[in-house]
């Protein structure tokens, strides 16, 4: 018989291989041999071999069955409901869950317990677990044992998918697998995929999550925000989020700013009174370049004492037309003389003499006041126009941003080709939180110690559910900078320690007692739990 040949099969990583190590299972199956295996009669040997073979056989038989005893929902009547779909197994079909997740069932995806392809209608049951309350209600452990090291899962989303025909559980046809396109907010590109092995009682690593995220839009938005910080928001507004109103507001703002610039350039300037004992020049200033001087007639430019190289010989030369340039704004200028290769430049002050100065001085304070008022008014207009522009800009930007987010700009599509029905988790292993460490005792508010049970904590900065057994609370750690909520389920009753309670904890106490408040409210829905836990 010709053998099957695979060309360029996808390689398997060392990590995935390591995740399947199960020495614990191996040693459990190892037969307890009370006598050393030495030379014995053939009859004894046979008995030993049969016993060993039975152990090995039992090992295989047990492995073939699934055991879900370690999934323990805390409430019998409150859980995340499944959504049922009916699919024609021969044709397959696409289904969209309420979250937007798409389930793609190929033709002939289902096998019965004998490995035969199933025909006819199949019942598909699907549900998702998105947040710590979902994780809690499901009773599915969110802890991960990676080659002996225990982690908690931070999850981008967990799914459960099962198939039945006439009440009998079906398995997946590996040649025609079901695919799921899970939608999640945020960036899950660093996350992995895990499958819940209900026999081993652990999650099995299945590789990196295949994620699809529209980064162009997100990068653009980030660049828009950064432009805003540098004051170039108008460029960004034009390119992406501009619409008619935004453009109008932008034009209005620009116009006002131009007028302010012109006004500032026309700030009234009062020349000094000429000191006729000092060297000076009478030169006509270019009114286009220096409008502040244009309002004055008969300006004399007095040579500043700063000039060390000035000599009166300069008056003896017929220079080309001198050039005036600004030196210290609102105060002094530079006068440059040229003739051939000779160049001389001097710092000068504009001055007026006699009655010209007297008249200018008289008018100046009025002009300055008028100018200041005009400038102040324009600046007020600028503030308003800037606010109007920001409002129009943000009003346009936020819906655009949300639209981009919804069209996968700020969400991630996780593409999973399932290899089996059951629970799949897009998650990342993290450690328990750290920061403050306490040897914890738990009591109710009457001071009565809480007994054995299950204890949970949620750090609102992580999409994780931390689960503790009683004996691990002797070294309880939490992040004091986060908002945390802790609760206990003891004898089917719930007790809670709120974020407010956490805020009052003495973090350096060493030993500390949490007094948890018993929840009397009936928990009938997920929303009831959200309310009592505040998450």
């Amino acid at each position: 018989m010709k053998k099957k040949v695979n060309i360029n099969r996808e390689s398997i990583s060392s990590e995935e291989i390591a995740s399947q190590k199960r020495f614990g299972s191996l040693i459990k199956s190892y037969p307890a041999v009370t006598n050393p295996y030495r030379r014995t009669s053939w009859r004894t040997k046979s008995i030993v071999w049969v016993a060993m073979a039975s152990v090995v056989l039992v090992y295989y038989v047990i492995k073939g069955e699934s055991s879900e005893g370690f999934i323990r929902p805390p409430f019998e009547e409150v859980n995340i409901a499944t959504t049922d779909y009916s699919v024609d197994a021969s044709k397959g079909g696409d289904f969209t869950y309420k979250s937007g997740t798409k389930i793609v069932v190929a033709e002939n995806s289902f096998l019965d317990k004998n490995g035969n392809v199933v025909k006819g209608n199949v019942d598909l049951k699907y549900r998702e677990f998105r947040d710590p309350i979902d994780f809690f209600l499901s009773g599915i452990p969110m802890q991960y044992d990676s080659a002996g090291t225990k982690f908690e899962f931070e999850s981008a989303g967990m799914i459960e998918i099962k198939a039945f025909k006439e009440g009998n559980a079906l398995t997946m046809n590996p040649n025609s697998p079901v695919k799921v396109q899970l939608i999640t907010t945020g960036d899950a590109s660093d996350f992995n995929l895990y499958y819940l092995d209900t026999v081993a009682g652990n999650w099995a690593y299945k590789g990196k999550a295949d994620t699809k995220r529209q980064m162009n839009a997100a990068k653009y938005l980030a660049s828009v925000d950064s432009l805003k910080d540098t004051g170039s928001v108008m460029v960004a507004a034009k390119e992406e989020f501009a619409d008619v109103q935004v453009k109008q507001e932008e034009e209005k703002l620009n116009k006002i700013r131009e007028e302010i610039a012109k006004l500032e350039k026309r700030t009234p300037f009062l020349p000094r009174q000429l000191d006729e004992t000092k060297n000076h020049f009478k030169i006509k200033a270019d009114t286009n370049l220096f409008p502040e001087l244009a309002i004055y007639k008969n300006i004399y430019f007095e040579v500043s004492d700063e000039n060390e190289n000035f000599t009166p010989d300069i008056y003896k030369t017929a220079w080309e037309d001198p050039v005036i340039s600004e030196y210290r704004k609102g105060e002094s200028y530079k006068l440059t003389f040229r003739k051939g290769k000779a160049v001389h430049a001097f710092i000068v002050f504009p001055t007026l003499k006699g009655s010209d100065y007297d008249n200018a001085a008289e008018e100046f304070s009025g002009k300055l006041k008028k100018h200041s008022q005009a400038l102040a008014a324009k600046k007020e207009d600028e503030i308003k126009a800037s606010h109007d522009f920001e409002t129009a800009y943000n009003a346009r930007r936020e819906p655009a941003k949300m639209q981009l987010n919804q069209s996968a700009g700020g969400t991630t599509q996780i593409l999973v080709t399932l290899s089996a029905f059951g629970n799949w988790n897009c998650a990342f292993p993290i450690n328990l939180p750290t920061g403050a460490s306490l040897a914890l005792k738990l009591e109710d508010i009457d001071g009565k110690q809480l007994g054995e049970g299950d204890f949970y904590m949620v750090d609102k900065n992580r999409n994780s559910l931390f689960h503790y057994q009683t004996n691990t609370l002797s070294r309880f750690e939490f992040d004091p900078k986060s908002q945390n909520v802790f609760w206990a389920v003891v004898d089917k009753k719930m007790y809670v320690f709120t974020p407010h309670d956490f805020a009052n904890v003495n973090k350096t106490a060493g030993e500390y007692t949490f007094q948890l408040r018993k929840i009397d409210k009936e928990i009938a829905r997920k929303e009831d739990l959200s309310e009592v836990l505040g998450i």
Binding site: I17, A18, K21, L26
Partner: protein, 169 residues
């Protein structure tokens, strides 16, 4: 090793050390990784059960494990030959064709998968170990329990057989 012989719990170090090697050996020869994981576990169970029989007399422990894996696979394939799968990287085919010292390398590479699929198990193991797993002749010899020279001779006879089969296609 001696600790593992005294108490199987001490076998864990050997398990962890060789797990990936054995898995890859098994996975090279079957189709599904879940199946390969199951077989790997059984190989180590057999190794644990028979650890007291192992004594180092020039045979590395890894080769002893490979023998157990090979035996386990052979038993499996005898019961159900459909489990036997050949997994090939295209780049490895060129090594095979190159080793056959042929002119039309490209043409040979294309026909090789079919020819390899028709080899009997012993010949196939030689090709797999030498060209797909890149093992040295010494290691191949240890695993197959033959001499190194014998391993070389057998391999080249297989290559000749394959060359002839391609020419007849």
């Amino acid at each position: 090793m001696e600790e593992a012989k005294r108490n199987p719990v001490n076998f864990e170090i050997l398990y962890n050390t060789y797990y990936e090697k054995i898995f890859r050996f098994v996975y090279q020869r079957v189709d599904k990784k879940e199946f390969a994981f199951d077989i790997t576990q059984q190989v180590f169970m057999n190794a644990m059960l028979n650890i007291k029989k192992y004594e180092y007399r020039g045979l590395p422990f890894s080769s002893w494990l490979y023998r157990i894996a090979r035996n386990e696979l052979n038993q499996l394939f005898r019961k159900n030959s459909s489990h036997r799968t050949i997994n090939i990287d295209e780049t490895d085919l060129r090594y095979v064709a190159d080793e056959m010292k042929v002119d039309a390398l490209e043409e040979y590479s294309q026909k090789l998968p079919d020819v390899i699929a028709e080899l009997d198990e012993d010949d196939l193991q030689l090709i797999e170990m030498r060209f797909f797993e890149k093992r040295a002749f010494k290691e191949i010899a240890d695993i197959l329990d033959i001499t190194e020279n014998n391993a070389k001779v057998k391999l080249y006879r297989v290559l000749e057989k394959m060359k002839e089969a391609i020419l007849n296609k």
